[in-house]
């Protein structure tokens, strides 16, 4: 078992965003997580990443608490946010941060970005936030894929990509180690249908459907 959320409840200003959520992610699971806005998809992901202190219940990733052992937990997770954040570091500095904090090889990032037609080497001094939306997303994807993780979490990863970029991205995903688990937050199941083996549907802070495909 890679990650488990047991009876997790979380409220923001009196509104229950996660309502007694139970979720297990096993090795090799390829999950499409769906649901309307405000269903709690991003909240459960953020709780797995240790960003939120849950009100009750328990979350473990590789047997460790994401709050108490965040460094150990995050070593085994790669995360791509829905929108690339406006990081003001240059690409060189961002790569340096990623390399040193997560022990990722720079060459591997160049290799992965090259496979998505993103030439990084000529843009190293450019601030990250000045790249186009698609380029930023490709770089984040390249970083995530270069990290040796057990669990890849993608929050609407293709929102900024053009059709060709999406195609390349999905192509790269087919090459991920089968032992590695993935969790996609998506509204478009049709796009990733061939890449997932399980779908979870959330609504009003609850898991309302969880089935193998």
């Amino acid at each position: 078992m890679l990650a488990i959320a047991k009876n997790v409840t979380k409220s923001f200003m009196g509104t229950k965003v996660l309502d007694n959520v139970n979720l297990t992610i096993n090795q090799g699971d390829r999950i499409a997580m769906m649901g309307p806005n405000g269903a709690g998809k991003t909240t459960i992901v953020r709780a797995l990443l240790g960003f939120y202190h849950i009100d009750s219940g328990e979350i473990k990733v590789n047997g460790a608490d994401p709050i108490k052992n965040r460094v150990d937990v995050l070593k085994s997770i790669s995360f791509i946010p829905q929108l690339p954040p406006p990081v003001r570091l240059s690409i060189e500095e961002l790569l340096s941060f990623v390399e040193k904090s997560s022990d990722i090889s720079r060459e591997k990032i160049f290799e992965e970005s090259g496979r998505m037609d993103l030439d990084l080497k000529n843009q190293l001094n450019k601030p990250f936030f000045k790249l186009s939306g698609g380029m930023k997303q490709k770089l984040l994807i390249a970083i995530a894929l270069s990290k040796k993780s057990n669990l890849l979490i993608f929050d609407e990863p293709t929102a900024n990509l053009d059709p060709k970029g999406r195609e390349k991205f999905y192509e790269l995903l087919t090459e991920i180690d089968p032992a590695c688990s993935t969790l996609f937050i998506t509204h478009r199941l049709d796009e990733i249908e061939g890449l997932v083996n399980r779908k979870i549907y959330m609504d009003l802070g609850k898991v309302v459907e969880d089935e193998k495909i």
Binding site: R70, V71, P85, V87, R88, S101
Partner: protein
């Protein structure tokens, strides 16, 4: 420790590219140059002239500008990153919250303290160029006071930045704190003193809890150990603390308060939701 230094280094690099850093550096460096160009150092006011006169006016300017500059530029540090989702991405890497928070603070301290310190050194060089004597002790102590003033406002800014989730509210709170420390507390204490309802000693003690007041008196005491310019309050302060302890207090007190505030900010950063 490796990650703490990495975060500090990256924060310095990021700040060096920011517009606020240029404005900040130009303001302090430019002011110092302006003092010399306009002949401030050649004027005599209350017996002060030359480098002492120039440093005295630099203190007055520092008291007003430094706290608000530090608050405005730093208070966005954590809250701004949180709002723009930069924090979400950067903290999805295996970096401890301790390394991230203290690394940010270390980096930011370097970028807010160095321009003011360099402006001071620039002033000293100008002074020497004009043929003045080099007051080593004064420069050392004044640098120490600038260090502690920068530190307390940095601690305060990190505290506000962590506990307030919105950048707008954090900026508003910074402004209120700044104006209160700079003027409102003094006005309120003067009002109390005029009404004679509270003992003068208590009022002076309350005034000496205000870090801006502490810096002002500490800095003045470097030029005027008898504190004649602040009037009868000087007797109480010097009789109670003595000139040496007054300077030690002016240096240590803001650092202690800055550390407490920064630590409280760190506790909030760890204990509250990050996003």
């Amino acid at each position: 420790m490796k990650n703490l230094l990495l975060i500090a280094y990256l924060d310095v690099k990021e700040s060096l590219r920011s517009k606020w850093f240029y404005v900040y550096s130009v303001v302090f460096g430019g002011l110092m140059a302006l003092f010399f160009i306009t002949g401030v150092s050649d004027s005599v006011v209350m017996g002060f002239t030359g480098l002492s006169r120039m440093l005295l006016i630099f203190i007055q300017v520092t008291i007003i500008i430094l706290p608000i500059f530090i608050l405005i530029t730093t208070v966005k540090s954590i809250s701004g990153d949180r709002e723009s989702n930069v924090l979400e991405y950067m903290l999805s890497f295996p970096v401890s919250l301790k390394d991230y928070y203290w690394g940010k603070m270390l980096g930011r301290f370097a970028t807010v303290f160095l321009p003011v310190f360099l402006a001071l050194i620039l002033g000293v060089i100008f002074g020497l160029f004009k043929g003045g004597a080099l007051p080593w002790k004064m420069i050392f102590l004044y640098s120490a006071l600038l260090f502690s003033l920068s530190f307390i406002f940095l601690g305060l800014a990190f505290f506000l930045s962590t506990i307030l989730k919105s950048t707008d509210i954090a900026l508003g709170a910074s402004f209120v704190v700044w104006i209160a420390l700079l003027a409102f507390i003094d006005i309120a204490l003067m009002g109390l003193m005029l009404q004679n309802r509270v003992s003068d000693e208590l009022i002076i003690t309350l005034a000496m809890l205000n870090p801006i007041e502490v810096f002002r008196i500490g800095a003045i005491s470097l030029f005027d150990p008898e504190l004649t310019v602040i009037g009868p309050v000087a007797y109480y302060l010097l009789d109670t603390l003595g000139s040496v302890w007054l300077i030690i207090y002016a240096f240590v007190y803001p650092i202690v308060i800055g550390l407490i505030l920064a630590y409280l900010g760190y506790v909030a950063f760890r204990k509250k939701d990050l996003l």
